[in-house]
Subunit: 363 residues, 2 copies
DNA sequence: GTACTCGCAGACAACGTTGTCCCGGCCGGT
DNA sequence: ACCGGCCGGGACAACGTTGTCTGCGAGTAC
């Protein structure tokens, strides 16, 4: 077996460390600065000299040191953007990550990512770390309730973009889903199919998207001339398991709802599980906020209000790059629309069985 | 509205750039080196001097520059690890990413990620980029057929770990799923339920995991005293759509299989879609390699051979860190076992309807 | 023919930090 | 009282690169 990490090809002095521009200059018989010019593609070097330098670079297997370069350059660019997400492992975050990586690649920039896990402390730590690494810009799906710290942490002029949730106390471009509108549309869709008793299943209420989705639900119910029944509203459902138990208990009451609106992915899945266990999956209407893979293959297929993470990511990246290119206009908010995808679960009519339950018989 | 990116708090000279250790030293009335010592937590500084320095740091809002620090330090550590994945947006890759981020965090290291999209060229480019950024170590889910270039690209001694697939031409620690065994177990499970005609649905055959999973299928079929029917073997199914059409055509023949083994996530999903469309989802047995969310909520729930991306990621990170800590032993291969999860689709018996099809009637 | 310009290349300093060396003072032992 | 060792702290150089300035030779306009 080959020795560990041993270079396969030659071209290097055995005992020496990596070659520097100085070594290349010596080997090519030119000055250090000329090597620098060649490496940076400055056109003023004569072609034959440039060729000499290239030969020496290849012969010595020279590698440019971006760190040293960044230190010396006047613009101090690291060609790095910092990306702070809820959890790089979840589908929404990783979809954002992917498109932002693609946009960054087009500008020859690299992406440093970190997961926040709803922990404001972690958010600050990561911003600090990325600031020490001199990231050129920061895209944050914020978790903290106060972002005024960004002013002190980041060098003045560092572009920041908030995505998915608004930031507080720091003016920056912001990319948001039309949460109120989307949740309203879902709720109205259920109302239009005859439902009058629609339960709301929400994530922690301190999360701004959860607040807005609840607001959309509330507004739609109120517009329809109904009042929101507080016993049909649940907040704080952060996992599928919590959502499942919440839905189970909803249907152990004498007057269960005939439809569910769930404000988030995992909650929707928990709701599906609960309805299955109760045998009510064909009886209770369900619309979930945020699409998820295989929603179309469930029985019934799940109607959702789909977000557009790809467009959100592209928009956030574009906003960041515009700032990096020197735009210093007022920060703006970009609204990314949702799309109601009808698949079946949201089009179920109110179940007579459940309605009869209202007259007294528990399920 | 607040001006863009304007610092909220004071403590900085308006026209000046970020303060350096020199500024802090002047403000604290100590030498530059003492500031460095305090920042690096060297214990030999007297407590009161250290306090003075800390005060100055806070007053000036000083931020350490890791780039300059790295350049000067003798060990040249950047506390960065490079992670090259198939696609940071797919569930398997992002699961790996997440655990590796967590392990890195425990060592105060950051992760630079990039997606390869099955493109060997892209793999080389990213390795080059990350080498210029002097990543301390590299974890690669390889795509290239030849990794001897790593020897020239990376500084000698840089630890490399291959994950999910083996690397070629460069000796390094490797973390692999037991693909042959897992695929064999799935196939034997189908055989044990009476199936004699089991189709294999595979990804591009140049992908090593696809080869190994096919090998496990082939071995199990052969062991059972049967011969592999080449018309039941399909390679090159890289998307769900391709898999769907492949399965459709499998069942438009007079002697369709009674069971399917799909070698990959998207292929499994395509197969499920096809069986649904054919109305055969309760008639044809199916086992998929690699688990996926909601597999348990489909009808019937999908039996899978689950991989363990979390354990793979932890193992890869641990191997990398061991090298960073100085271990120079022979590189090894770590095998991560699979687990057969019985959910229903893999336990269906051969369908009489399909078997009768064999005597002549097309479906 | 001279002066001016322009293209090209090199010498030198500097980016912000840490490694190395050295100095001054304090301690304890004789 | 003197010496040796130790410890806290500072001066200086260096990491690998690029910005700036200067010099040289050739081309061009008068």
């Amino acid at each position: 077996m080959q020795a560990l990490g041993e270079p396969a090809s030659g071209g290097e002095q055995p005992g020496k460390a990596r070659p520097t521009m100085n070594d290349v200059a010596r080997a090519a018989g030119v000055s250090l600065k000329t090597v620098s010019r060649v490496v940076n593609g400055v056109r003023s070097v004569s072609p034959d000299l440039a060729a000499q330098v290239q030969t020496a670079i290849a012969a010595l297997n020279y590698h440019h040191d971006i760190g040293a370069s960044t230190l010396r350059r006047s613009d101090r660019r690291t060609d790095t953007i910092a990306l702070l997400l809820e959890d790089v492992g979840n589908p929404f975050s990783s979809a954002l990550h992917r498109v932002i990586e693609d946009e960054a690649r087009a500008r020859k920039m690299q992406v440093l990512t970190g997961s926040l896990d709803e922990d404001p402390q972690r958010e600050r730590e990561l911003v600090q770390t990325f600031a020490m690494r001199r990231a050129d810009g920061v895209i944050i799906a914020p978790v903290s309730a106060d972002h005024s710290y960004l002013g002190a942490e980041l060098p003045p002029g560092t572009p920041v973009v908030f995505v998915d949730r608004p930031g507080q106390g720091f003016a920056a471009d912001t990319v948001l889903t039309t949460n109120v509108t989307g949740a309203g549309e879902a709720t109205r869709h259920l109302l239009a199919h005859g439902h009058r008793s629609i339960a709301y299943l929400g994530d922690h209420f301190h999360i701004s998207t959860a607040q807005h989705r609840y607001e959309g639900y509330r507004a739609a119910v109120t517009e329809a001339g109904l009042t929101v029944d507080p016993t049909l509203v649940t907040h704080g459902l952060h996992t599928a398991a919590l959502a499942e138990t919440a839905v189970m208990s909803l249907f152990h009451r004498p007057d269960p709802p005939t439809a569910l609106f769930s404000s988030q992915n995992l909650v929707t899945i928990g709701a599906v599980r609960a309805l299955r266990r109760l045998g009510l999956h064909r009886a209770v209407a369900l619309i979930g906020f945020d699409d998820f893979p295989l929603a179309d293959l469930l029985e019934p297929a799940v109607t959702v209000v789909a977000q557009n993470p790809a467009l959100m990511g592209r928009t956030a990246a574009a906003a960041l790059f515009r700032r990096l290119d020197g735009d210093t206009g007022e920060p703006g908010t970009f609204w990314i629309p949702t799309e109601l995808i009808r698949r079946g679960s949201g089009e179920l009519p109110p179940s007579p069985q459940l309605l009869s339950g209202r007259s007294g018989q528990p399920l």
